[in-house]
């Protein structure tokens, strides 16, 4: 949290990183496309006066909340689930998908509804606000399996193209909200590194506006 020095950026490893680094480059920031050694966790990017902290996406808001990273890039899905006290500065309009309720075709209400998901907070809140009582089951992967083998009658999960659902004979029933990646900032960094963060926001914002027309 020094007032000068490199901006510490919590970057999600994997799929989102590629798209985010592309956006950064298009906005004129010299960021490498990929790193040869993917096992490195802290990567200095002196050309852009930044330091990347390569994190599991779901952990990005935690690093930023505690201020070990000044800013971070993370999906709205994670922000909704984790509910951390951070600034949500910019919609990066990348990694577009949606959070949906999914089930087998011809789903009918059951006596003891069960919903499997990687997002138990999001799912609980959604059904609670609609006055529906459901048992939320937290799973860590292969959520589509749950309705196929009878663990749950529905799931709440992210849908990008719908291809995986189709292949497993599942249908999207309702959309909770659409999801894109967001630029987030720590409460203190947002003030003490105001200049650098605002400049980054402006650059990215102009690029995003140009793409969206």
């Amino acid at each position: 949290m020094t007032e000068s020095g490199a901006l510490k950026v919590a970057m999600p490893k994997g799929r989102i990183y590629k798209q985010a680094s592309k956006l950064f480059r298009e906005a004129g920031l010299p960021i490498p496309e990929d790193f040869d050694d993917s096992r490195r966790l802290i990567i200095p990017v002196p050309e852009a006066n930044m330091e990347f902290i390569m994190a599991k996406p779901v952990d990005v808001p935690t690093y930023v909340e505690y201020g070990v990273a000044d800013i971070g890039i993370v999906g709205k899905d994670v922000l909704m689930e984790e509910n951390k006290d951070v600034y949500e500065l910019l919609d990066l309009a990348i990694a577009k998908c949606r959070m949906s309720v999914i089930g087998l075709p011809g789903w009918k209400p059951v006596i003891h509804p069960r919903v499997a998901t990687k997002y138990p907070n999001v799912a609980s809140q959604y059904f609670r606000e609609r006055g529906q009582q459901v048992e939320v089951i937290k799973l860590n992967g292969s959520i589509e399996l749950a309705p196929l083998i009878g663990l749950a009658d529905r799931i709440v999960d992210m849908v990008e193209t719908g291809q995986t659902l189709k292949e497993n004979g599942l249908v999207e029933m309702e959309t909770l909200f659409s999801v894109t990646s967001r630029l987030i900032a720590n409460r203190v960094s947002y003030r003490l590194k105001n200049g650098a963060i605002q400049e980054l926001c402006d650059r990215l914002g102009r690029k995003i506006a140009a793409v969206q027309g």
């Binding site: 949290m1 935690t62 201020g67 070990v68 949500e88 919609d91």
Partner: protein, 418 residues
Amino acid sequence: MRFTRNGVIAVSKPKVFEKPTGVKDYLPHAVAKLRRIERDVLECMRRWGYEQILTPTLEYYDTVGVASATSDQKLFKLLNHRGTTIVLRSEMTSPIARVVSSLLKDQPLPLRLSYHANVFRAFEEEAGRDAEFFQTGVELVGEPSPEADAEVIALAIASLRAAGVPSFKVAVGHVGFLNGLFQEALPGRTEEQESLKSFLLQRDHVGYRDALRRLTLDDSVREELEGILRLRGGEEVCRQALRLGSSEDAKSAIRQLCEVWDVLAAYGVQEHVLIDLTMIGDFSYYTGITFEGYASHLGFPVCSGGRYDNLLSQFGRPAPATGFALKTTRILEVAESEADEEGGRTLIVYAHDQRREALVEAERLRAEGLQVVTEALDPASPEWAALRARAARVETFAHRGREYDSLLVYGIGEGERA
């Protein structure tokens, strides 16, 4: 607590060393540092004319609990033997408002009060979730002027310095600015105003801009409302803000802010101050200037405060008021100076035949301000011989795991003293 085979947390009898979640023990070195900070900060406040008060840990939910700015689910509640709901104090401002309106109701205003206290929060969801932590702060009751706002901000800066926080900034804003601007842009559309404010309160700028886009607004107004997200910086921000809209409330808020800025310049503390009109305190609690302090190398604010002109009326003595609290437990992490050099730690060992002489000498040294530990020892023991040999040398040494700077040995043979 233990984990059963299916991963469910089972509540069982706690192990003897366990304590409830969110509370901490402070060991001697941490306490020494905490006391040093507490002493220096309270001394700083005393020099500004603030008198320290103590209030009880327990308060009624229906009075102090309801009046406090802490959200209901974060209050620690319990029932007393009559079934009345009691809260553990969650902050010190409401208890002080209660005292100012009752015990001190005949004292003329303004009142300047300071405190250092432990406060309690249940189910804290923010990072660093302490259920009990220390706050050191002041309340200035009965002064509505920008001078008073500036005094409290300048004192917050002096207190952070006294605490030993090496590098910090205080961001100052005003709730009246956004209230005025929204009122002008969305006259009578209270629900829409509330929704915009709640996005800002949650620090969700993306949601705020999306909400603006969905509202029916003139493009120029929309641009203006989007533009407030950039109103952060120095004095120039005030000038930019004066050009926004024509709401008299917003303009009067900015004029107050400009005046506070000028007073802070006279205090000579401007280098520590940022103007930030995006800084949103709790709209239902704060009524004017609000501020928050940030230290380098710490991800959380180290102090917060502002003007709360409506609180005192809830206790029957309407009066304007402003104040702040340092988050002392967090400052402990970043404060530079360590605990005071103790020094002068003396060990006196004695044989029974010289007990009186040894204890009289111990008392004399204690009266001089030294730390003295006494120990009766058998002159026949090997330790006695080792300490006797040591007594001739002048250097720090350890005895039973503690460090000492000097040693006196009383026993057998006259004058066997180091």
